[in-house]
C-alpha cells in the first residue's frame, strides 16, 4: 500500500490529515451499530476514544481539538444519549492528554493499557457526572453507575485490538511519526 505521507502533494497531505478523523468516526460507527450481541448484556466499547488517545499522543498535529470534538459529537448523535455528553467528555479527555502528553506517551506494555484506562475513566467520569448534573437540574434520578463502569471495562478490554488496528492504519497510511511536523 502506498504511504500517503511520502507523496508530498497537498492533496495527499490533506488525505493523510483526514485519517485520524475517519478512524475515529469509523470507530464510533462500529460501536454504535444498534445490533445487540448476547442480548445486550455486554455494552459497546467507546471505540472512538482509541484514535483520539492514539493520535493525540503520536501525532497531535493530526488529532486536533476540532477532530476530537467531531468524534465526540458523532458519538453523541449515534449513541442516542443526552446530547453533548460525549462531545464534552472527549474534548476534556483530549485536554487532559494534551497537558500530560509526555507522561502518557512514555508508557509501554501494560502501563500503556493502564494509561488508556486512566484516560477512559476520565472520559466516562465526565460523561457520568455531566448526566448526573443535568438530571439533578431536571429533578430526575441520578444515573446508575454500573452501566458506565461496564462500558469503561469493555473499552479498556478492547483497547489492545483496537489500538493494533489504529497502529496499522498509522503505519500504512500516515507513516512513521515525525518530530518535524
Amino acid at each position: 500500500m502506498v504511504r500517503l505521507e511520502r507523496a508530498q502533494t497537498p492533496r495527499f497531505r490533506f488525505l493523510v490529515a483526514l485519517v485520524p478523523l475517519a478512524a475515529g468516526l469509523g470507530g464510533v460507527l462500529i460501536a454504535n451499530i444498534p445490533v445487540s450481541v448476547l442480548g445486550g448484556l455486554v455494552p459497546a466499547p467507546l471505540f472512538g476514544l482509541v484514535p483520539v488517545y492514539f493520535w493525540c499522543l503520536v501525532r497531535p498535529d493530526l488529532m486536533t481539538p476540532a477532530v476530537a470534538f467531531s468524534i465526540g459529537f458523532a458519538e453523541d448523535v449515534l449513541s442516542g444519549g443526552p446530547p453533548g455528553i460525549w462531545t464534552l467528555a472527549f474534548v476534556l479527555t483530549y485536554a487532559l492528554l494534551a497537558r500530560q502528553r509526555e507522561s502518557f506517551a512514555g508508557l509501554s506494555g501494560l502501563a500503556a493499557v493502564l494509561g488508556f484506562a486512566a484516560a477512559a475513566t476520565f472520559a466516562c467520569a465526565v460523561a457520568y457526572f455531566t448526566v448526573a448534573g443535568l438530571n439533578l437540574l431536571s429533578g430526575l434520578h441520578l444515573p446508575p453507575p454500573v452501566p458506565v463502569v461496564g462500558e469503561l471495562l469493555m473499552t479498556v478490554l478492547f483497547y489492545v485490538p483496537a489500538t493494533l488496528v489504529v497502529g496499522w492504519l498509522h503505519h500504512r497510511l500516515v507513516g512513521a511519526s515525525r518530530s518535524d511536523v
Binding site: G72, G80, G84, V146
Partner: protein, 340 residues
Amino acid sequence: MANAWKIARRSNVQLPLILVVALAVVVVLLGKAQGTLFDRMRAHATDAMAPVLEKLRVPVAGFDRFVGSISEIFSVYEQNLKLKEENARLRQWRNVAIVLQGRVGHYQALLHAVPDPKMDGVLARVIGRANRPFLQTMILDAGRQNHALPGQAVMDARGMIGRVYLAGQRTSWVILLTDLNSRIPVTVAPGNVQAMMTGDNNIMPRLEMVSHTVTLHAGDQVTSSGDGGFLPAGLPVGTVVSDGSGGWRVALLADAGSSQDVEILNFSKPPETPPASAQLPAEAAGLKPQPPPPVPAAPAPTPQASAPANAQAKPKPAAPPPAQTAPTQTAPAAEEDVDR
C-alpha cells in the same frame, strides 16, 4: 509501545482547545434546551442505516438464539413439564375469560358504557438494539410513513415494552420501560392504586408515588392507567414484586431483549363531544324521552324555529333491549379475541 514512536512536537493548541471546550459546553446546554435538533439528526442517521441493519439483523438474531439455546438445552425437560402445567392452567383461565368477557359486554350494553378509544396498530420489526450507559433503546423498521409517531406505546405479544420517542421516516426509536428516562403512569390492581413506574436501567422498573396508606402485594397486576391521555389505559405491563427494602418494583411481562416483532399502538383518543342540550339529562342517561307536550294553537312558527322544535318533539326510536342483543353479539367476539 509508545516508546517505539517519536513523540511529535507539542503543537500550540491551547487557544483552540479552550474554544472547543466552550463549544462542547454550549452543545450540552443546547442539547438540553433544544433536544429536537439532535433527535432529527439521529432519525436521519438511523433512516440511512436502516437497510444495513435489516441485513445484519438475521445473522445476529441467529447468533443470539444459538447462544441462548446453549444454556436451555440442559433444562428442556423441566421446561416441558412447566409448560404443560401452565398450558392446563391457561385453558381454565381461557374459559373463565370467555364467560367474563360476555358478562362485561352485557354490563356495558346495560350501562350504555362509552366504548374504549379506537386503537390501530402498526406491526414493526426490531432491527436494532442499543444498550448504552444512558439509554436503553430498540430501533424499529416503521417510521412516520407507517404512521408511527413519538409517544405511541409499543407492545409485544406479552405486554408493553416502551414508547416511541423518536420517529424518522422509515425507522423509530423506542425508549424502553427500563430506561432511566421512562416514566409511565400505571394502575395496580386489585385496589385501583395509581402509581408512577420509573425506569432506572434495572430490568425491573420502580413503582413510585404510591400512597403510604395503600398496601401492595407481590403478584398484583400492573397496567397502564391512561392518565394524561398519552397512553391507552389497561395495557398489560407486569406484576408487582418487592425489592427487599420496603419498595416495590415491576416484573415486566414483555422481554425487550428477545422481542422480534412488536406492535406500535396508534392511540388517538377521540375528542369528547358534549351531547346536545335537548338530550340532557334524560336521554344522556339512557332513559326514554318524555312524550312531547301538546302544542297550543298558536301562530305557525318560522321555519328556523320549527326545526329544533320538531327535532325535540320527534321521539327517537327506542333502542333494542340490550339484554337481548348483548350476549349474542359479545360471545362470539369473545371467542375470537381469545382465539386470536
